[in-house]
Symmetry: C2
Subunit: 247 residues, 2 copies
């Protein structure tokens, strides 16, 4: 009999990651591995089931096409947990730091039997994957049906929720990624992103203090420029804070 939290809690993401999931594994090797990544550094996801938590910075899950076009399929900011597709059916995925980042890797590939034998762990993983699917769907609709202005407003609002800090003059965001990266996430190109930023500023939806910093007075107004809402909670695979009783 044991008990643990799967996320959040006093220890922060790393502690909870280690305490929560690892507590569910029966006596394997000490699993969590801490990594630091420079901007632009890539990490191969390899084979087998792995989970990552972002401790600091911002990382992207990326793919590229045969001709070099890149698409970022997901962003993770501190507190997010994510899990790349384990089998890459000729689409190769990698993890890339868009700014200096720290993350924690949990390699579960040698614990397939543990997972198959631990219902609590397996159903938590299932719940988490369901949550992740939800945010991919939202991104998919964004790419399929929204125009540039709508995509950018949604993105700026999303980043404000994720990493903005409240100040007396509004929500201040230090943008930790380049225009190129934003473009590859939104299915646009860097020049278009830059142009739309100028339009956003002119429309007073966000105030750009520098290329890497903006202040939003009214996040709701910003995201209502798009006909679907941005998630108020950070997107990505994430465990909710709740107790789970283990058997």
């Amino acid at each position: 009999m044991a008990s643990g939290k799967l996320a959040g809690g006093a220890g922060g993401p790393f502690r909870s990651c280690a305490n929560g999931i690892c507590g569910l594994l029966d006596g394997g090797p000490p699993l969590p591995r801490l990594r630091s990544m420079e901007r632009g550094e890539r990490l191969d996801t390899g084979t087998g089931l792995k989970l990552w938590t972002v401790l600091g910075g911002i990382v992207a899950l990326c793919t590229s096409l045969a001709d070099g076009r890149r698409q970022i399929v997901g962003l993770s900011t501190p507190g997010n947990l994510f899990c790349p597709p384990d089998e890459t059916e000729r689409l190769d995925f990698w993890i890339e730091a868009l700014a200096p980042s720290q993350l924690c890797e949990l390699d579960l590939s040698s614990h397939a039997r543990t997972i198959a034998g631990n219902a609590t762990l397996a159903s938590e993983l299932f719940r988490a994957a369901q949550g992740q699917a939800r945010s991919i769907y939202a991104h998919l609709v964004t790419l399929g049906r929204l125009d540039g202005m709508e995509r950018v407003c949604l993105f700026l609002a999303d980043m404000a929720w994720r990493i903005g800090e409240r100040t007396p003059e509004g929500c201040r965001v230090r943008l930790p990624m380049a225009r190129e990266d934003i473009a590859d996430y939104l299915g646009l190109n860097a020049e278009t992103v830059s142009r739309i930023f100028s339009r956003v500023k002119k429309a007073r939806l966000a105030d750009f203090r520098s290329p890497t910093e903006y202040v939003v007075q009214d996040i709701a107004a910003l995201q209502s420029r798009a006909p679907i809402p941005a998630p108020h909670r950070p997107a990505g695979l994430e465990f909710e804070e709740r107790e789970v009783a283990l058997s």
Copy 2:
């Protein structure tokens, strides 16, 4: 002690769906519910965890935006298993038949405790969700980075793998959905889809015998028009055929 198959097998998808998953539930009510849907008919996904298998026809998982734009986020053809996002965070999803279809619904919402207590079932669900995520990622890259011609070629090749029948003159496909539906799946509009079909025919990549039927000589050539491959296996949440020992 019991044993079952989670998909495929002699009984076809319905039997396996009933035999497999239901066999994993401890004595609840007989769960699988058979539904017939007319073209255009919608089915609300409701709340709670539900799984569907398609027995015949073709169904789509759809969303729409505040201004009416529709996006089809996934297609399911016979043999596919799918699972809509359970919580619709202000994005409303529904299931829509694009042609007369039959499907089988498994309502697991009252079996949360069973899932949390049955490691085999929970880890199968997790594996299935992982597989579903993989196909959403592929679709996301399609919408983010491919042009119209590439999207359409990938789609035609995908449909050939899913529902084509081999004939001496090539792979013959009866297209069970309207141009509008294809457009909403590919993030285009109906006129553009029609125009691109004409280009595909002119390029002899596929031979349209009628608006709803085409023959492909070389599926590989078709999908190689796009820089990423179409999945050879039908996309969507799908259980592989394999035995699972239950405890």
